[in-house]
């Protein structure tokens, strides 16, 4: 405080606190010497006024008392559990037992996906979509599995509006009837999705009879118009030829991704029937000529990447022309395909995705002449009935003003029409009514908006294939003030019936043909040979011809530039469910990127354009942007992914992205490729691509694209499989003990004692790599069954995805995986290993592709269990590796010690957390949660449980009934979602079971067997029907 000179210190230094001290006689310094503060603190004013102090109701003591009491009270209150209320039904519905799931058969027909499904409900809430086993051969894909979450979408339209204001349905009806009477004589178009619904068709006809100025036009957002046109020209009625690939021995596909969404998709069940090899049984052979890498190409025996313009030549060559003008390697493949097709006779089939009527007609003719057993033209598919010419006429009519009114149902033309001027023209229409589930681009511009219910809240029927019917029944009361389109039509045609009554009457009179309604409703599916009156509005044949001549027939109309193939992603389809976080987060089976669409381009084209992909320090994928222009329309800043197997000179871009209206911010992903969907044709030519500035951050979950010759996926060829012993192509890894080679599974090679698992149940899961097409339905089924959280794009990018089940995709580095092995085995010396291992990391330009679903392998000798410090993960006698979440302290030792990398850590709280604003953050979205599975909290590890809640339920049901369990009763979410039967599950202690046979199969192997973990998940070696290598 004082000058240092006063101190008895040796130093003479003078320390000063402020410049003020340097001045002599500074009054401030003087004052400070005496007092602590320069100015006196007015304590007397404060404390001296006794009266005020006493008058104050809160004395200091009281204040402290209050503080003390509140602290104590708060801490005491924290110790007490909350009061939980339970509210039972006042009148319980007979069919509901709280805690027991009910299943209802229903059908989806949203214009893109058509399927017969089973809806699992708990306490009246649908929580899961499953496959309806009565529908043989039907397929429930990832989008249909995920559709249950779209029911609980908080961005849905909740009430009808007129001019943006909420109205009652009565007012809405009155408004519509008034407007319709004003529109008398003017051209009004009813633009709908394909309903494939006989009852809706009847209703629409009644409606258009009452209002003759209304014409019905079917608009498929993703068009199959050319195929339907070709079918209609040849067979008279409109439809799509159906294919049963189980009846084909040689399948040649020219640009048709029939394992994806080609002509409605759903062909994989039949296809796989002939693709699983059995000794002495034939396996079908599959040639694929395509531009984009697709699921079909990945599963093909011979895949040749060719750009669309060459595909036309190939098709010509296959159907009788010459192979001139094709590159040599392609010509060779075509010749081979043609000779095999010829040899196969009626067992051969060609399919094509080339969007021209000529091409489609050529294929129909070819298959017809050859008498192809796989093609079914007698009972065509009715799922994609739109006609491009008609739709184009509507689009142009609205723009030119000749169409005065537009009623849209289930479609969003403002978003999906490839003409930017449509939006403004639409707003200027005299009448615009939009039926929509959300306030999409069209609905937000429409004068009147009718809120549609979800299909799980509706009545309905579908006829996806002639003679095969499905019924839709509501499984929950409408969540919002919505009304079905059909119900509205009934009101507008002054029909007093409800749609349920109308539907039932129509079925009883026209479809059931003596069958019982209640049985049909319970089954959900109905086969009937009744011939229905043709009610679907079909375009006149002359319209078809004009479409044929006007349509973009192939591609070579504009030379130069790239050729663009627009496709639909397995997860997103036509984009209807863009607000569904499960689908956004589902990695694409091929690129393994989520939350995006992107331009796929071949490596050589990318390098010539200066486009690149690279991984950053944390492993995440970055890529360039490109501007894509087609005929004057440019999409800027499209992220680019270099796709191995993409044909040179071609690019691919997925439809269905880039939606913004009524889509949550996080899910406004990608670019809208519909703006390039000219003529509604999936192939666009004369595409120019230029590099744009900036770097795109992908959320791609797979960093290593190749196996680098490692023993992960085992592959062999049919020839070797048929001629050589299993130990040749599926060898048991050996380890050395006392300089003797012994198999890794022998007890001598083991440090641990094995438990006796011969008693009770012992569950095993088998994954047949031959039957797995990579479709990803199991990923979504697992999501729904196990309450797997959605983490968002940022976290996905950091590889913090929570999927319990992933489908790894590997590309071969050489032309096939066998060549990879060969190359690896021949590496010797440092120089060679440095360079050649690096080469093995790069995927080939046209690689072989293999899919491998990987979940927790439930190792009998689990590395994770031994390292857990708190014994949170332990082994059950039934073979399942248990995870007790409430015991886990989050050390993550287990994940580090897991050789399969299947453990997932909850880095954050994903439920009820605004940072992760997905379905688990709102009351509506949480209704989809499975009440039998706990929602994990932050800081704990989680992983596949082998659906122990399902096996336990099966066991309990049997115990309660006092019966033994039959084979096939045990299921997991993934095994029941797999329509091709690639994933099989069961009890290996039951020696009569299918799964036991699989353990004894020659093709059986365990993933990373050499590690000695003894997994309870097994894989069946992939066998390709190739002769070479």
């Amino acid at each position: 405080m004082n000058n240092t000179s006063d101190n008895h210190m040796a130093s003479n230094k003078k320390y000063w606190k402020s410049v003020e001290e340097l001045k002599e006689n500074s009054p401030i310094v003087e004052t400070l010497k005496q007092n602590e503060f320069v100015e006196e603190i007015p304590t007397d004013d404060f404390l001296g006024d006794k009266e005020t102090l006493e008058a104050s109701s809160t004395t200091r003591r009281d204040f402290l008392k209050y503080v003390g009491f509140t602290t104590a009270a708060a801490s005491l209150a924290a110790c007490e559990g909350p009061v939980i209320k339970s509210i039972p039904y006042v009148v319980a519905p007979d069919e509901i037992i709280p805690g027991v799931a009910n299943y209802y058969a229903s059908s989806i027909g949203d214009g893109f996906d058509f399927a017969n499904v089973l809806v699992k409900t708990r306490e009246g809430r649908p929580i899961k979509i499953e496959h309806n086993d009565l529908d043989h051969g039907g397929e429930v894909n990832a989008r249909v599995q995920a559709s249950v979450l779209s029911l609980y979408d908080k961005n849905r339209l909740m009430y009808p509006t007129v001019g943006g204001e909420e109205v009652s349905w009565e007012d809405f009806d009155a408004g519509v009837v008034a407007t319709m009477s004003q529109m008398t004589g003017k051209d009004v178009v009813l633009l709908t999705q394909t309903f494939a619904s006989p009852t809706t068709a009847k209703l629409i006809q009644e409606f258009t009879t009452q209002y003759p100025n209304v014409r019905h036009v079917v608009y498929d957002t993703v068009s199959s118009s050319e195929a339907a046109d070709a079918y209609q020209t040849k067979y008279g009625s409109r439809g799509l030829a159906d294919y049963d690939f189980s009846k084909a021995e040689v399948i040649v596909s020219v640009g048709a991704d029939f394992l994806g969404d080609w002509q409605g998709g759903g062909y994989s069940v039949g296809y796989i029937k002939n693709r699983v090899p059995k000794k002495g049984k034939k396996m079908s052979r599959h040639f694929q000529f395509e531009a984009n890498m697709t699921l079909s190409g990945a599963n093909a025996d011979v895949r040749v990447p060719v750009k669309p313009s060459d595909q036309v030549k190939i098709l010509k060559a296959l159907t009788g022309g010459s192979v001139s003008g094709l590159p040599d390697n392609v010509a060779e493949a075509v010749r081979k395909a043609k000779s095999e097709l010829d040899a196969a006779g009626t067992n051969g089939v060609i399919v094509t995705g080339i969007p021209t009527v000529e091409a489609q007609t050529a294929v129909l003719e070819y298959n017809d002449i050859k008498g192809s057993a796989a093609m079914d033209t007698a009972k065509p598919r009715l799922t994609s009935m739109g006609n491009t010419a008609e739709v184009t006429a509507v689009m142009n009519g609205v723009i030119s003003g000749s169409v005065k009114g537009l009623i849209t149902v289930g479609v969003d033309p403002v978003y999906s029409f490839p003409n930017a001027s449509f939006a403004d023209a639409y707003q200027n229409l005299e009448m615009s009514i939009a039926f929509s589930m959300r306030e999409d681009a069209t609905a937000s511009r429409a004068k009147m908006v009718a809120a549609l219910p979800h299909y799980l809240e509706s009545w309905g029927d579908i006829q996806p294939k002639k003679g095969s019917f499905g019924l839709t029944q509501p499984t929950i009361r409408p969540l919002f003030n919505t009304r079905q389109f059909q119900e509205c039509l009934l009101k507008w045609t002054e029909n007093s019936k409800t749609y349920y009554e109308y539907l039932r009457e129509n079925w009883e009179n026209n479809i059931l043909a003596g069958g019982a309604w209640s049985q049909a409703l319970q089954d959900g599916v109905y086969e009937s040979d009744v011939v229905l009156e043709e009610l679907e509005t079909t375009p006149a044949l002359n319209a078809l011809e004009s479409a044929t001549s006007a349509g973009a027939l192939l591609p070579n109309t504009q030379d130069g530039g790239m050729e663009l193939t627009l496709y639909t992603k397995t997860s997103m389809g036509d984009g209807q469910q863009a607000n569904n976080p499960w689908l956004q987060e589902m990695p694409d089976p091929l690129t393994r990127a989520s939350w995006d669409n992107y331009l796929t381009i071949s490596a050589s084209d990318a390098s010539s354009l200066g486009l690149e992909n690279y991984n950053v320090a944390n492993g995440a994928l970055n890529g360039s942007y490109a501007n894509v222009s087609v005929g004057g329309v440019t999409i800027e800043n499209v992220p680019v992914i270099i796709q191995p197997g993409q044909a040179q000179g071609s690019v691919g871009l997925a439809l269905g992205y880039g939606k913004t209206d009524a889509i949550q911010k996080e899910m406004q992903t990608g670019v809208n490729a519909y703006t390039l969907y000219n003529n509604f044709s999936s192939v666009q030519t004369g595409v120019s691509i230029s590099k744009a500035s900036g770097i795109h951050e992908f959320a791609c979950v797979q960093l290593q694209n190749t196996m680098m010759g490692r023993d992960i996926i085992r592959e062999t060829t049919l020839e070797i499989f048929n001629t050589k012993d299993a130990e040749h192509w599926n060898p048991m890894p050996m380890v050395s003990k006392d300089h003797q080679e012994i198999p890794v599974t022998s007890p001598d090679a083991d440090l641990w004692d094995s438990f006796d698992r011969s008693l009770g149940h012992h569950f095993n899961l088998s994954i047949d790599l031959n039957a797995c097409t990579g479709c990803g339905a199991c990923v979504i089924a697992c999501h729904a069954e196990n309450n797997v959280p959605v983490v968002g794009k940022e976290e996905m990018r950091k590889s913090r995805n929570m999927h319990w089940l992933r489908i790894d995709r590997y590309y071969s580095s050489q032309e096939s995986f066998a060549h990879d092995f060969e190359k690896k085995d021949n590496i010797s010396g440092l120089g060679s290993s440095l360079s050649e291992f690096a080469e093995l990391e790069q995927a080939s330009e046209n690689p072989q592709v293999a899919f491998m679903p990987v979940m927790c392998q439930h190792c009998n000798h689990a590395p994770c269990e031994t390292v857990c410090p708190v014994a949170a993960t332990s082994h059950g006698r039934q073979g399942q590796n248990h995870m007790a979440y409430n015991r886990c302290v989050g050390t993550r030792y287990c994940a580090n010690n897991c050789p399969y990398k299947v453990r997932r850590f909850n880095w954050f709280l994903y439920a009820e957390n605004d940072e992760f604003d997905y379905n688990m953050n709102n009351d509506l979205g949480r209704m989809v949660l499975n009440p039998d599975v706990v929602v994990r909290s932050r800081g704990v590890m989680e992983k596949c449980s082998m659906c122990i809640q399902m096996t336990q339920k099966t066991i309990l049901d049997a115990k309660r009934d006092g019966r033994a369990i039959k084979d096939g009763e045990f299921k997991t979410a993934c095994s029941s979602a797999c329509s091709t039967g690639a994933i099989a599950f069961g009890d290996v202690n039951d020696h009569d079971s299918e799964i036991y046979k699989k353990t004894k199969d020659d093709r059986m192997y365990h993933l990373l067997e050499a590690v000695g973990t003894k997994p309870n998940v097994m894989y069946q070696t992939q066998v390709r029907n190739t002769k070479e290598s």
Binding site: A92, Y885, V933
Partner: protein, 444 residues
């Protein structure tokens, strides 16, 4: 742990108290009932004098045939029957009771009016009843409504009736006397000392021996040992206390409707599964929906059982609770119909298992055949429902270790049982031996 005793002490004490209360209160009830029966008998006797029938026989017949739909003094499904003989001709009544619908169809004006007044609910025909039977029943309907006689009886039996209250008063008085004595003693001693001081009497101050306390403090070893002991002891108790956090054994919240399990499951011997039917089929036992209550309470609109006056559970109180049910379910007693105005009851949940523990009732009730009381305690004695068991994992596991699985007549267990008993060399298998202690069986 000894802690277990510590935990249960309050509940044991309360049980003891409850037992005492119950012993006294039941005697009260018994006496009341006797008195009531007596008055009723007297009433019927008087009625019998006026009419030709035998009211005692009539009562039996009434209870067997009519009581499902009719009450004497209140409207139920059918109208109140008190003094029905005055309202209609005897002959008319004979034919109405034997087949009412025939009369309605025949167009009898009185019959049609009656039919319309009662929501067109069809009365069961009783062709088997003889004229004499009907006379008996009519005689019984003249039984006067018993006037509440509780007050007189209780005062009359004061000695045994209000025991607990008197005991409390006596105890309080004794305590007061004791306190008074202590205070007086202190005052006397103080006064004596003051007198002594005033008189200059010197009383010896005790020689300042090193006190026991100081000796203790000086002995460091003793201090150390005591400190260690105290620390350990407090740690022990603290642990025991902390382990009770989140454990709600004895939790007995006040419910929106005072539902007495004692009356339903105890006095009336209703099987638990009658209302909690989903316990047999589902993981939850289910709080019964109100339509289940109404299966019986459509007819039972007032409480006529025993009362517990000490706790204020009078007949009126219970009847009032039934009215709450009617309000919740929207039942109009006058019209005997549902109004459609429902107010679902927000029960306070008593047994709260955490989400991460899976428990299935049907597994225990249907498969294992465990009595509800094993976990839920003597529900049939619970006036207010409370959580009987701690519901801790240790408690679950103990039971799984000790309980043998009953494998008889269950085909599912046959093979497993044979193999396992061979493996363990035992005839009976506990749940633990069947794998019932594995983490994943309850945590998923």
């Amino acid at each position: 742990m000894i802690m277990v005793k510590f935990r249960n002490l309050p509940s044991q004490l309360s049980l003891l108290l409850l037992a005492m209360v119950l012993t006294f209160s039941t005697t009260t009830y018994a006496q009341e009932e006797a008195a009531e029966a007596a008055t009723e008998e007297a009433a019927t006797d008087t009625a019998a004098a006026d009419l030709g029938g035998d009211p005692v026989a009539g009562k039996t017949l009434f209870n067997a045939n009519c009581a499902a739909c009719h009450k004497l003094y209140d409207k139920a499904v059918g109208p109140a029957l008190f003094g029905v003989g005055d309202k209609y001709e005897k002959e008319w009544l004979y034919s109405w009771i034997r087949n009412s619908q025939e009369m309605v169809k025949a167009g009898d004006p009185v019959a049609v009016k009656l039919f319309e007044e009662n929501n067109q609910s069809v009365m069961t025909a009783f062709p088997a009843l003889s004229d004499a039977d009907i006379d008996n029943i009519i005689a019984y309907t003249y039984t006067e409504k018993p006037t509440p006689v509780i007050t007189t009886t209780t005062t009359g039996e004061a000695g045994g009736g209000d025991n607990t209250a008197t005991n409390n008063i006596i105890l309080a008085a004794l305590a007061m006397v004791f306190l008074l004595l202590v205070v007086m003693l202190m005052l006397v001693s103080k006064t004596l000392r003051r007198i002594a001081e005033a008189n200059g009497v010197e009383y010896e101050e005790k020689e300042a021996k090193p006190s026991l306390w100081k000796a203790f403090v000086q002995n460091q070893f003793l201090v150390f040992v005591t400190a260690v002991f105290l620390l350990l002891a407090s740690g022990y108790f603290a642990y025991g206390w902390m382990m009770q956090v989140g454990m709600d054994q004895g939790y007995a919240p006040i419910q929106p409707i005072h539902y007495s399990h004692k009356i339903h499951a105890g006095d009336n011997q209703i099987d638990c599964n009658f209302c909690h039917s989903s316990a047999r089929r589902s993981k939850t036992s289910g709080i019964p929906s109100l339509n289940v209550c109404m299966n019986c309470h459509k007819n039972i609109s007032e409480y006529n059982g025993e009362e517990d006056l000490a706790n204020g559970y009078t007949k009126d109180f219970y009847t009032g609770e039934i009215k709450k049910l009617y309000e919740a379910v929207g039942w109009d007693e006058n019209t005997q119909s549902y109004t459609g105005e429902e107010k679902p009851v927000k029960w306070v949940r008593i047994h709260n298992l955490p989400d991460f523990a899976y428990f299935n009732h049907s597994q225990h009730v249907s498969v294992a055949g465990v009595e509800c009381q094993t976990c839920h305690g003597p529900v049939e004695e619970m006036e207010v429902m409370y959580q009987f068991s701690p519901l801790t994992m240790g408690w679950c596991i103990n039971c799984h270790r000790e309980t043998n699985v009953d494998l008889k007549n269950n085909e599912y267990y046959q093979k497993v049982h044979e193999e396992l008993s061979k493996k363990y060399g035992v005839d009976k298998l506990t749940i633990a031996q069947m794998g019932g202690l594995e983490c994943g069986k309850c945590h998923y």
